[in-house]
Symmetry: C2
Amino acid sequence: MQLVQLPANLPAMEQHPPSDFARLRRKPQRGAYDRATIHAIIDAATLCYIGHIIDGRPVVIPTFHWRYEDRVYWHGSAASRMLRANAAGGEVCLTVTLLDAWVLARTSFNHSANYRSVLCYGRPSLVEDANEKLAAMKGFVERLFPGRWDRLRPPTAQEIKATSILSMPLTEASAKIRSGPPMDNDEDRSWPVWAGLLPVHLAGDPPIADADVVSGQEPPAMPA
Amino acid sequence: MQLVQLPANLPAMEQHPPSDFARLRRKPQRGAYDRATIHAIIDAATLCYIGHIIDGRPVVIPTFHWRYEDRVYWHGSAASRMLRANAAGGEVCLTVTLLDAWVLARTSFNHSANYRSVLCYGRPSLVEDANEKLAAMKGFVERLFPGRWDRLRPPTAQEIKATSILSMPLTEASAKIRSGPPMDNDEDRSWPVWAGLLPVHLAGDPPIADADVVSGQEPPAMPA
């Protein structure tokens, strides 16, 4: 995927030292702050949850995101409260979570989940330049459906104008991961109940073609 | 599922009139405020995202939730920043989203997703009473794995004490739903690209039994 005119000169550091705010307090052994881990989790997720402060109150909006280099992008309508809050320079927290398995233990207390999550904090900025916006829109489509952008009816100037794109550097971010079996106390392991993992994943169902699809056109794969 | 000692005297109203804050501004035709719709979406989701304001900054934490009557519950460690923020009477926004399908249109602009989401705002309160807390813990396990609670090693007083349970009334909530095919402009419908829905759902993979599981024990079904 080729994105043009996005800032590309990133520092060579491979590790973001966590800020005091981003550093995990609970179960710090599950934490990770290296760029490769954070990027991989962000890339594996399509849906994110963005927390804003609007009129002094927390508001969490689900939306889709994509990543280019060390920035995360999302889009919205210029008319939305979310965009207005962002345009005012407000800070956000963007959170993604991939649920990997239910973790069933012998006690309710030791039940858990295997997951990969990232929280990143920052102040998003609007992508103002029309060419940069177009590149970002292409990046969004191509991240979900590789090869689709060039097959679509190209966007009009009005459509580009009506789309707002935000981006935020991944400089203040943390990952949190749990994997592995349930952690029961030794004395509980012989309790007569099933224990282990129930893995889950997001699966695709058969595509449903829209009316009037031109014959011979095939659906793309579900986003991975 | 039987939960004891939780407040049960709810007003008979079937419709929460949306507060000005909770009322949808963007695409209001996708909004719903009736209790049945809001309950059904909350019940269909297991993972929620709770937005807090901590040190003046938005923080979005993923966690699991469950519902009893017109309240939503979640749990956490008494030592967490999230719990400390809640104990200080802070307001939260609890958001759930079920992704139902990718919506592929003939233009990037008209791509969308089918989803069901709920945002609810409020000030959570700690479940303080030990019996009420036990009932809520049972409600959580039974919501995920019906019949499992009575098969587990019962919780100790220490385990109950170490678990913090929060709840919040669903009085200031809104649902937002998109369903149906892509909405392309008439003049785009003959564009030669596949368009339609790619439905998705959370699917289970084969269970992975823990070491030492007592023979004859079978795994429960994945939470629905």
